[in-house]
């Protein structure tokens, strides 16, 4: 099998369209994320950011268009694509009646990992939840669940991270941990697609920035190429002025 990181882009999206009933959400999205880069995806509520993440993660099928992850088409190579992805969304995907350890052990087994306990302890340490590992997830706060959710996404050391508003519900300490995960120096190949409403965080963490508006990528730039003021202007134009 080809090493996924040797193909040109981590994620390549071409002409993706998606409608729910008669309401079009995505009207032909084109986007490319190179290896080793963090792309911040901005957009107003309902612009289709979450839908796009779900399509890349193979949770939802696009009506038309093509999504290639690590050189693999999501429509035909689902399991291979999912092996490359770590996904953090609004839902933690954790079982309330199981402890953090039991949850992470379960997901480690789902990914066929060998040294399950070692992996669990390592990722838990990364998100600063070692002392809560044996507590029932249902008894944890939203922010703590989110930390375990990030640990779940990192269990198999994925080459690509998809993060849908990962900062929601996190305190300052957890935000610092999240920033460290996103700009992980130990994994220079890892690409991150992160959606957010926080432009400043997006500018701080991302190397590229895209804005989704009217079902299309209305703006996409490498932050090396443009000044921050230009980006702020574009953001205000497509989503309204930042608060």
């Amino acid at each position: 099998m080809t090493n996924p990181s040797t193909v040109e882009s981590a994620i390549r999206i071409q002409g993706v369209q998606k409608a729910f009933g008669r309401t079009p959400i995505l009207r032909g999205v084109d986007l490319e994320i190179p290896w080793g880069q963090v792309l911040t995806l901005l957009g107003a509520n309902g612009s289709g950011k979450t839908t796009l993440i779900k399509i890349i993660a193979t949770l939802t099928k696009a009506d038309s268009g093509r999504v290639v992850v690590g050189g693999m088409d999501t429509s035909s190579r689902g399991p291979g694509v999912r092996r490359l992805l770590g996904v953090v969304t609004h839902d933690a995907f954790l079982y309330d009646d199981l402890s953090g350890r039991e949850n992470l052990r379960f997901f480690a087994k789902m990914f066929g990992l060998d040294r399950v306990d070692e992996c669990v302890e390592s990722v838990t340490e990364k998100v600063g939840m070692t002392d809560r590992l044996d507590q029932k997830v249902g008894n944890l706060s939203h922010g703590m669940k989110k930390r375990f959710s990030i640990a779940r996404a990192l269990l198999h050391d994925p080459l690509i991270l998809l993060m849908d508003e990962p900062e929601s519900g996190l305190d300052q300490a957890a935000l610092r941990l999240l920033d460290a995960v996103i700009s992980d120096q130990e994994n220079p190949v890892r690409s991150v697609l992160m959606t957010t409403h926080d432009l400043e965080r997006g500018l701080e963490l991302g190397q590229r920035l895209a804005i989704l508006a009217n079902g299309r990528i209305a703006y996409h730039q490498s932050l090396d190429d443009v000044g921050v003021d230009v980006v702020r202007e574009a953001y205000a134009k497509y989503t309204g002025p930042p608060s």
Partner: protein, 224 residues
């Protein structure tokens, strides 16, 4: 092969562990199935001659109606907490997710049947061990769980899932319920095995067909 079966057994083990913690499915299903049997017993008050005729039907009504309750909870628990997407993010085929959930449903139904049957036997004055009943019950439960797991995944995405599951599920499982009732009747009456050789292969074929069709259909059902 470990790569394929590992996640299937991980889902099964997770469902068993969750059930041991919450007792969400087993307690409610056992109580419901017991109530069905007790109500029928009082309502019909069957004579020894009538028992052989009505008992198989009552037994399978209790098993399948109880089974529907459990099947309804199976995917509802995943959906309510958004965990179905968690399962779908694993690097495995959708069929492996199906088989993991199917094994859990099958196991819970078998446990319920094992608890219900002795009570049923006492109430209807039947022997506690009817030779040949266990393989018949396992064959029928296999088919019911196979179909039920698929429709449970379909119904969970509808607003009225508690109503939707029986509406979708019963028309499809009627043949195997009829076969199970007939085969159980033959065993209770102690008839010659001629009839059994008709119903048992029928159930085996039903199981084989739906254990191929349902995982394939499941993949289409759970992706939005």
């Amino acid at each position: 092969m470990k790569g394929y079966f590992g996640p299937i057994f991980a889902i099964l083990a997770k469902d068993v562990l969750l059930e041991l913690r919450t007792k969400d499915i087993l307690v409610s299903v056992v109580v419901f199935a017991l109530l069905v049997i007790v109500i029928f017993n009082f309502a019909l008050d069957p004579t020894p001659n009538a028992v052989a005729m009505v008992a198989p039907g009552i037994l399978w009504v209790a098993f399948t109606f109880g089974g529907v309750l459990g099947l309804n909870r199976s995917f509802a628990l995943e959906k309510e907490r958004g965990n179905l997407h968690g399962l779908m993010l694993a690097p495995i085929g959708r069929d492996a997710v199906y088989f993991g959930k199917f094994l859990g449903n099958f196991l819970f139904m078998v446990i319920v049947e094992a608890v219900i049957y002795p009570v049923f036997a006492v109430l209807f004055n039947l022997p506690l061990l009817v030779p040949g009943f266990i393989p018949v019950a396992l064959l029928a439960t296999l088919g019911i769980a196979a179909v039920g797991t698929m429709f449970s995944a379909m119904a969970v995405n509808t607003r009225s899932r508690e109503v939707m599951l029986p509406v979708l599920f019963f028309p499809v499982v009627v043949p195997i319920i009829v076969a199970a009732v007939e085969a159980t009747g033959v065993l209770i009456r102690g008839d010659a095995s001629a009839d059994l050789t008709r119903w048992v292969p029928f159930m085996a074929v039903f199981d084989a067909i739906f254990l191929v069709v349902c995982p394939a259909a499941f993949a289409m059902i759970i992706e939005e």
